[in-house]
Symmetry: D2
Subunit: 456 residues, 4 copies
């Protein structure tokens, strides 16, 4: 028996490879399938099945690509959203893989078609060894229930509660859980930072287990997690199990060529926020490398993207992070990075910064924009007087904020990544007096400075 | 939280890396510590502790090397065999690692000092998340109980049963188990081929759980697994947590230099048995690459070892496999392998082979030596008339077998690896008419040829 | 300035990457372009040009694939065989690459369209820094002149002599030479084992420089190097700069599936000759890994190929070696290699071997087939009485040899690789008493045994 | 024959590996010998010799380490500075390596003991194939002649001219040159950006070839290249062929531990200047990664060094860069980098920046410090009114500059790397109003702003 988890940072996604007697199945693979093919090759395994727990919203799936490259069959549930699958399992139906048996469980709630797959070994055939839980059950958390219809978030939460209590938890304490996402995912509100768990552990530590049904429904109804616009595209392409990756590599462009081509597109600077603040191309977005797979989803899907990265390894990572959320239109990357741009004497812009003490001292001189999610703003506290606008909405709703272009603006988030994106959006749009609060709310809190909480 | 398992093939060993808040512990590391240092470096972790479950017999431990290189403390139990440890935990005593808590459990049986360590997370602090079981509990099996005193195998089996039933199983079905060995280990008779399990799974599938105490004791008493002579050296060096690895690389030697130096040493040919049969250096031992960490333990620790390998990657693997069992005296490796030897026109020897059908047809013309473990010979069946002699004992007990040097001898094992070592030993000692049974007892059985079972 | 050579073993090919100011050109790339794309990516270079010295016969070119993936232009000479090129340079015409200047030189002889490209640096603009010589000039050798028309070998040799003496040598002693092939190529008879040289060195050590025109023409006319049948396919596909590689990975097949599928195809065993001799699948061809790119060209292009290799790294190498010579129809590889086959108890065959002393003693009992090239057989000497048949012709001309299926046959070559292929061909065709001479003519000569030379 | 160049960035050093018939020599290896051992292992070569061209001043040599690890002999000239060598060749004496012959040439000038080694192949035994030129002859340049005694720079230049004209150039145009340094080295003033050259090319493009002896001597006498203080340590340890590398890895420290330990040491921030400007630890030095091997030589050798790097790969690079120039006292690296520091809410400092246009407009409000080498300042032009102080001298001569701590200071260099180090030195020493000129003199010049030249 062979078992491995393949984590994809940025979208906090986990794909599982399970195999026996030389035959393998991949559960919920992403679109950048090379990593799976390498693992199969290194372990001399044949891919028989791609198993889908549900139609993913936050990344483009790899099933279609894998089917084409390896001849594997796509296995899923019987819901109509799985129309593209080669084999469709009804609730309780099983699939054999070497000496292993996978039992399909229909577990709606996160989405209506959601499936879990319990795994049974030959020597303990009546006790589930583990269960692929998709977005139904995470480590310490559950999948969001607002995606298919925000108006039925509570209703779906009830469905999810029932799926877990009637189908998943009864598998027994001994069953390991294998969710599709880990800490940091956009598909859950508060996933715990552990990669390994069992039903027994979750029964002690997971809200879905310890709460009553009513409490759980009300808890989920209160969750307000942003829904990036690209989810709509994902829902569409994933009806066909995703599209194969463009096989053409991203070109490195010399500064002169980059300068020329950027006119027709947008520039994303994937360096760290500090580096962006120290100097960047005018008009570029600042999205740090591991944030691309999430915040890249708010960038236009029309214009070609030019990339500023630290080097070749980062280019690969950036390109795949964008491809996973459906961004295929990459115009190129700046060869030798920002340094080459600077050496070429081309136009440079910097961002201003401010430390918490300075801001506290001169508070009322600045307009403060807090660009975190609304739950963070309300539940974790914010600087008194700060205005909330989620970073994903900033560019589209700038007009509503009524800010003058020369006003002194401070942008903050938890530590400074999303604030850097916020700063870059403001600079792109002509705001000339913008500051990133260094250390963000983390530093603010550590320094014991004043906080407002929602309703307090 | 960070958790990873580092498997060492050949000795089927597993070391665990567990970390939280930047601080890490390694459980039962081997002597070739580079792989751990790489993992620590890549994940930007500080090594705080090396945790030992027991004094290993089958490989040289890495604690001393890691302590010297990183300043980590060695943590173990309070038994006197743990004298070298920096921190010694009594039964039930705990160790904090970031937000994780490790609880020491004294679980004698495999050896008197054996410890298990249960792990508790902050959000489910009263339920063990997992347990490092050392050689007390394997996947589907338990550690052998004959090592410290073969005369007290049964008594130790009883101790082990009690340790498991009183201390380990009560941790609960939800606890994952993390044993020190996997399938193929010399420390267990029949470890299951799965890398992941929980107490709940083992309670259904493990002999130690499903048997009564008496049945278990009698089951363990019947286990007869070979005890390689190097275990004695391991017991000695592991009293000090092992010795650091020699930092000098193995030299590649040209055929001429290899030819010269081999006179003072022995040659181990680590290629596949087929390649050895097709041509090899006269007098060389045949031990396939992943068998080195086990059968290399029967080769003399006095003479320097010359290596025949397929290439650079295999040289590293061969060298570390030997170092893990305490073989440090390597004279060099043949540059460009056997091919260079052949191209140089130096003396070559081949081995004869025979297929099952031929042997069946001409059975009584050959003396058959079955070199498997005695349990395999008796329980799985053997060719009628075959003589049993375990491959590890073959060279030292050749005289007792009463074979003439020109007798037609057939050597067999399960598929042909150990038989190739057997053939090489016989050729080294002047037996000139030796055959390897291709496919071994596996092919014999698949062809439905006659089998004897012990007592049948 | 950036300069690197990318060697492809097996076909002894060298591709060059030259770049300046961020823009790169690749000279004579192979079809497996990933290695070039990696190098470009790692060094943050844009590929501007693929430069072709001539239409390759011995491997499939990578120009078309690179053009499609990167947008690079194909640059070549003005001969009609370069019809597919985007830019066609006349003799003496130049191409600018950053501060570098490449000057095209039409140098017919090896083939009529052959070009060389001299490189000039800015600070020494009147002295060639180096020259890409394609197959016109090798280290210590020149390209064969029999390919386009064996009847005009001498005439083409004269053309080649003139090209070198009139266009290449006059570039000056200081110019480095960058040929398309190194030692072991099928495109030259006797390429020297050095990767670096200059015109000045070649003027002292190269036959083309030290001989008179007449002597050179007669020397080339005497060269008789085999012409693999696949050259014809290469000539055809290279008219379009080759075909892109199939992006589907080769599947690992379990022994049962492999056994089934092999019925429709052929099996190539790419392990070392010793391993093949020790055991192999009945009916398989033995072609060692680095021999695939040459001797694989004599295997049928109709039947799908099943591969036996040592592991994942070898699978990649084998697959690319075959793809480079146009073999795309791969049915799969045996998962876990020959060992899995043996463990499955499936049918195995072995090859017999014989050492020189035995053969010498019993010479007249055996029919000896020497499967080297005719020049080796005649010029380097052979065993008295040995019959010559080049390994590439063995299968197609077996009938002409008049051998009985049960005759004792010894196959030999220089050290045993080609002999192993010869043995496998004979076994495939029902010859049951076939021996590989261990160490081949190399060992024979080292032992001082009797040799015949042509005409002696 | 095997030949490869191993480049070490930062010190722009090149080590050569040359081998034949399985035996290898390394010419001028650095102290971090793992890269050489890997290359030897991968190519299955035995290291026979470490060949030294001279006692290096700018990096610690690897001969002693290699001798200890592999048993290789150190080969050098007969000068007393080579006392530690195992074999000492007189002028014109030769060394055999397989079929290759190396001829020693005593070529004083850069230093009195300097040797070159010409290489001859068997098939062109009277023409040098190449020559290892150490620091005597670079691509387009020659070694500095001021190191052993600044008072005898001109005299040594004459010696060097004679060595080249009498011993090196006569080897012939065809000989390839293999110097010990490439573009960017502290050992030459103006090395050309090409990795490959021949005597013939250099005879056209190298000052030492095209100038008269007098002109060359005066040219070298005018060269004023900084001499880092660590050269003295290198001269001492290299008398024994360097010291082995400390085998302990650098520890990752959590922010709290790092904060504590930094009190006893200094912090070097090896991120890009932009990232440093955007936020850094108060009191840290800014030295970009590839600058460490040069500018790290001005940092104190007493205090332990704490490192801020971008990740694990950069940690290895930073650590080796420092080790190569003798810095072994590393206290640790900040785990998860600057981001972890910021997230921990620990104190942060930023640097101010200014663009050329702003500076031009407000020129007389700022004191400008130009921290380039004096030759760059004088020959390439500087901002009118700028004060010159080489970055290496800045900290030790701060007092002499007569600057007030609150004065507005602009630091500049060619593009901003050295200026960032200058800014960090000023901030460390309490100057609170310091600006880095973005783009440096490169941008200034591209914008066509006013320049002063020395004497103009």
């Amino acid at each position: 028996m062979f078992f491995d988890r393949i984590k994809t940072l940025g979208i906090a996604q986990v794909t599982y490879l399970i195999a026996d007697a030389g035959e393998a199945a991949l559960v919920d693979p992403c679109r950048d399938v090379d990593k799976y093919l390498t693992l199969l090759r290194e372990n001399e395994l044949t891919l028989r099945y791609v198993v889908e727990t549900h139609r993913q919203e936050d990344f483009e799936m790899g099933g279609a690509a894998l089917r084409r490259l390896t001849g594997a069959e796509i296995v899923a549930g019987s819901h109509e959203l799985f129309d593209h699958a080669d084999a469709r399992l009804r609730d309780r139906e099983t699939l054999q893989l070497g000496s292993l048996r996978l039992r399909a469980l229909h577990t709606p709630g996160h989405t209506p078609e959601s499936m879990c797959y319990a795994v049974f070994l030959a020597d303990s055939a009546d006790r589930a060894w583990g269960v692929f839980t998709g977005d139904a059950l995470f480590m310490g958390d559950t999948g969001r229930t607002d995606l298919t219809d925000p108006g039925r978030t509570a209703e779906n939460a009830g469905l999810l509660y029932d799926s877990l209590h009637n189908k998943v938890f009864p598998l027994g304490d001994q069953a390991q859980i294998f969710p599709a996402h880990g800490a940091g995912s956009a598909c859950g509100g508060n996933v715990a930072d552990r990669d390994y768990s069992t039903i027994g552990i979750e029964r002690a530590a997971n809200a879905a287990a310890v709460m009553t049904r009513d409490a759980f429904v009300s808890h989920k109804a209160h969750e307000r997690i942003a829904r990036p616009p690209y989810f709509t595209l994902m829902e569409e392409v994933n009806l066909k199990a995703g599209r194969p990756l463009d096989e053409r590599p991203v070109s490195w462009l010399t500064p002169t060529v980059f300068q020329e081509r950027r006119r027709e597109g947008v520039v994303i600077d994937a360096r760290a926020p500090e580096a962006f603040a120290g100097g960047h191309l005018p008009g570029s977005y600042s999205i740090w490398l591991t944030g691309l797979g999430r915040y890249g989803g708010w960038i236009s899907y029309e214009a070609p993207i030019g990339l500023i990265v630290d080097g070749p390894a980062e280019l690969i990572e950036a390109r795949l992070a964008l491809a996973r959320i459906g961004h295929d239109n990459i115009m190129g990357a700046l060869a030798k990075g920002f340094e080459a741009w600077r050496d070429a004497g081309l136009p440079i812009e910097t961002s201003a910064t401010i430390v918490p003490d300075q801001l506290q001292a001169a508070n009322n001189q600045y307009t403060i924009l807090d660009v975190r999610e609304i739950n963070e703003f309300e539940d974790e506290g914010h600087i008194p007087g700060a205005q909330h606008i989620f970073v994903g909405d900033l560019e589209s709703r700038l007009g509503e904020l009524g800010l003058r272009k020369d006003m002194p603006l401070v942008v903050t988030c938890s530590v400074g990544h999303r604030a850097s994106l916020g700063v870059s959006i403001l600079q792109r749009n002509g705001y000339s007096n913008v500051f990133n609060l260094l250390g963000g709310m983390t530093a603010w809190r550590k320094l014991g400075l004043a906080l407002d909480r929602d309703g307090s």
